[in-house]
């Protein structure tokens, strides 16, 4: 059941598009990077999508600025855009690749996977 239907007062896609983590499957082969990346060839990166509408939920961990901006936007949409739905926590992944010198390198690349999203 969509949240809007569940609550009974929010309808339409706005309620369904609240800021949250969505699926984003990365396939390095499709990106054409499989000629230098040995492993992994694909992973789940996720992405953040949705609206940061008033009132902001606490699980979105909004900044004070985002709260103010969201409030202003709710009062006067022309005054400020809504705050942005962005990743708030990212985690690394290990990548085994071939560097410029034809050496096999293991590297832990930071901020490759979205763990949570929020309004900032």
């Amino acid at each position: 059941t969509a949240p809007g239907v569940r609550h009974g007062k929010r309808h339409g896609k706005k309620a369904r598009l609240r800021c949250g983590r969505k699926a984003l499957h990365v396939n390095f082969k499709e990106l054409g990077w499989d000629d230098w990346i040995i492993a992994p060839l694909e992973y789940e990166a996720y992405h953040c999508d949705g609206l940061c509408d008033f009132p902001l939920r606490s699980h979105l961990e909004p900044t004070n600025h985002a709260i103010i901006q969201t409030l202003i936007h709710s009062m006067d949409p022309a005054a400020a855009p809504p705050s942005c739905c962005v990743p708030t926590k990212l985690t690394p992944i290990s990548i085994l690749y071939i560097d410029a010198g034809n050496n096999v390198v293991y590297k832990q690349y930071e901020d490759m996977v979205v763990e949570s999203c929020g309004c900032r």
Binding site: P40, I93, Y97, A100, G101, V104, V105, Y106
Partner: protein, 483 residues
Amino acid sequence: VQQASIPSSPSSSSSSSSSSPAELGSPAKGLRSRKEGKVARGPRESSSARGRQEGTPQDRPPGQPPPQPPHQPPDRWPPQAPGQSPLQPPHQPPGRWPPQAPGQSPPQPPHHQPPHRPPGHSPPRSPGRSPPRPPRQPPDHSSPETPGHSPPRTPGHSPTPSPGRSPPRQPPQSPHRPPGQSPPRSPHESPRRPPGHSPAQSPRQSPPQPPGHPPHRSPPPGPHQHGPPGRSQRVEPHEYMLSIYRTYSIAEKLGINASFFQPSKAANTITSFVDRGRDDLSHRPLGRQKYLFDVSTLSDHEELVGAELRLYRKVAMSSATPGAPPAGGPLHAQPGAPPAGGPLHVQLSPCLSRRVLAARPLDPRRAPPAGWEVFDVWQGLRHQPRRRMLCLELRAPADLRGLGFGRRGRPPRERALLVVFARSQRRNLFAEMREQLGAAAPLSRTTPPSEALPPSEATPPSKPAAQSEASAWGPRRGPRRPR
């Protein structure tokens, strides 16, 4: 929650290598749902297979032999046993960490040359389908001898190459390219470059070679080609690196700090350098052997936290009667025969130096039949300024071949490996790319006169980086011609 075997100590690390490809390919549910490490095949296996399937005579450059059928092991990529995944762990001797693949003899990749393509020209790609790539050449820099087949050589030839006469047959490739210009790529190469990865250089370019050596096995640059030729070699991932990846990726899924594992310490970047030295083909007893590593790609921004030299000790080529000391001492024994007697002390030191980095006794009779000997060479790499080549020398009072350190007939996976553990700071990947591109910008002056821009039309200093960056991240549409 899917369990994964994580070694808690170096001695138990073989469990990581025993993880099946299914473990690597399946996410650790409950902790993370990402599907990572889905490497059920080698990175280029499918491409090679496609190349074999789709490759037609007109697709191949002139003079290039047709693709090898899958049943021809010497030219297969990735080198693996039939039916074995590249990440499938081989049998590991107990007590060694990380697990290695002793005795594996992966076949040699084909020595094919990629077809010539003008720089910046990228083949059309369709999402979800990578174009077939030509088979790559192996990173084989040693003599191409095979067991039982030795090329003619002058007796008394220097057993190990000196820096002035370096064994690598590939010329030192300039890691830079004129900004805004795409590297020469084969029709199967990626149109994009990785983050934090120099887009001005192809990962499979020919490895460096001392000055004066002509490019080997590389197609001559075309009229639009600048800088180094396209990648003509294939890199075979070492089993040790694969095991490191397996271990760490599983640890990530389980939420374990990677620094838990030794000897990685706090390293987040582990680079492997394959020995580029050549074997001594003479029949003299080999009392010392040099190992050469091109460490020019080590970044100054990385803090070295460890380095080790891994030497694969093979089974002695001929058997000697145990307990029968050879006449005249160990070095006068028959070359290749395991020396008799007690333990022999082998020493590792920098070339042209008496400083011993590591030493250990090796008992030729009690030692395991084959396995990896690991020497800590961090002190040797740490106290010397960053240089291009690192030369280490192994000395023994006996014939090193008899101890199993001969290079002859070794597959790439059994070559000496220098593993450098580094800790790089958390940096913005764009900044990292920009930095590499900035370093590549001065080399734009090496552009041939036919395509060099006149001074009045020279690109501003900041623009090449932007162009190169754009070409690195976005699809290349073709060579841009200056107006």
